[in-house]
Amino acid sequence: MAEPRKIRMTVNGQAREGWAEPRRLLADFLREDLGLTGTHIGCEHGICGACTVLLNGEAARSCLMLAVQADGAELMTIEGLARGGVLHPLQEAFWEHHGLQCGFCTPGMLMAAYDFLRVNPDPTEEEIREALSAVLCRCTGYQGIVRAVKAAADRMRSAP
């Protein structure tokens, strides 16, 4: 039962499949088996949030899940955020407000912010800071990130 097994999932709207031992982390499966290296791996124990993806529409840490647990699930990774070459309003806002420096945490920031703005479309700055505490920025560039999320929220509310 520890042998590799076939795993099927929908990632960014596409049906994908691969083989993985039960111990294979979802983050590694996405990066190494499916070639989706936009999802970053920082701490591998659920603290830094760089590996955050959307699992059935909700943000989750992909280093704290086994690939086999996502069998049959619908996932969205950072690669799925822009549509048809057009950046998502969150990506636009991160660009405009200098919401990234080295960029390592950015995939996690964007996926966590995407989920957060769906449950709270009109957040206060304090609520944004609380939500973003889920992801660590080692450059400490939080000011720009908070501004970007606020700007994206405003834009998404006015033009849904």
């Binding site: 520890a2 280093c63 899940m65 989920d115 449950v119 889920a134």
Partner: protein
């Protein structure tokens, strides 16, 4: 940092999970939301031969209201609790505590049963269960038994669960009338483990305190009920001086240890301050003073 190899089973029901647990016994670990166990696997601090994954046991995820109480299936996600209108109205202390449990992305996976069974000394849910005299429903080879919270949390990450047993449900009393609640916590960063957390519930009767419920997390090896402080309130009422006296007593009742984050003295100080804040906010709510603002 990758998990060691293990055999993996994903039973579709609690009954199947119990059967597997019976078969593999101490070689097996139950995997709930995985927000504590998977880090332990990644660090190889835990290396079970068998993982029994409860995430496909859909019969363990539910929130049900009964007369005077609410029953939560062990695999109910913290996120489901956070956004449940039923929990908000009937178990508002649990709802408020949930905001302190990790972060939204960890609450997506984390479960109420996983948190209770893990019994981390700094975790919020064991404090809420202890304050509210929750009943924990445990199923094993000999059938089902109901364990009061006071007898469930035994020590540092140790519970009354016996080999072959699993937690299937937690039952919490619904909010009574003339009652107010508050969960106060101090941590280095929102979503980090609590340095100290306090769960409070008070029920008033005209000017008197009919009952007070207080529990602390982060202030000992296990969530601790602060009965001596509750008695001060039940005997002397909810005036400012008496709230201060109860908070001071609370700080004497805990047995914290020092670590990288806080000294023993600092943790006692936090118990004192947070108990006072929690009681004042709970009292405001009991008096119908509208929703007291959340401190964060």
């Amino acid at each position: 940092m990758k998990p060691p190899p293990f055999d993996y089973y994903a039973p579709a029901s609690a009954a199947e999970a119990l059967e597997l647990l019976g078969r593999y016994g101490a070689d097996a670990r139950l995997l709930a939301g995985g927000q504590s166990l998977v880090p332990l696997l990644n660090f190889r601090l835990s290396a079970p031969a068998v993982i029994i994954d409860l995430n496909r046991a859909t019969d363990l995820a539910y929130i049900k209201e009964e007369t005077g109480r609410v029953r939560l299936g062990a695999m109910t996600r913290q996120r489901a609790i956070e956004f449940s209108p039923l929990v908000k109205s009937r178990l508002p202390l649990l709802a408020e505590a949930t905001r302190w449990v990790g972060h939204l992305p960890t609450r997506t996976r984390g479960t109420v049963g996983g948190s209770l069974a893990h019994s981390d000394p700094a975790a919020e849910y064991p404090a809420v269960a202890t304050a509210l005299d929750a009943e924990l429903v445990v199923r094993g080879p000999a059938g089902e038994r109901v364990v009061p919270a006071a007898e469930f949390f035994l020590g540092l990450m140790t519970t009354a669960l016996q080999p072959g047993e699993m937690l299937v449900e937690v039952r919490l009393p619904a909010l009574a009338s003339n009652s107010g609640w508050a969960f106060e916590e101090f941590s280095r960063r929102h979503g980090d483990f609590a340095i100290v957390g306090i769960a409070a519930m008070v029920t008033t009767e005209r000017d008197r305190c009919r009952s007070a419920r207080l529990a602390a997390c982060g202030a000992g090896p296990v969530a601790v009920r602060l009965r001596g402080a509750e008695e001060i309130l039940e005997q002397g009422g909810l005036g400012d001086l008496n709230i201060n006296a109860a908070a001071a007593r609370a700080a004497e009742l805990v047995d914290p240890s020092a670590d990288l984050h806080a000294s023993v003295e600092y943790r006692r100080h936090l118990v004192h301050v947070l108990t006072r804040r929690a009681l004042k906010r709970a009292l405001e709510r009991a008096r119908g003073g509208g929703a007291a603002p959340l401190r964060s």
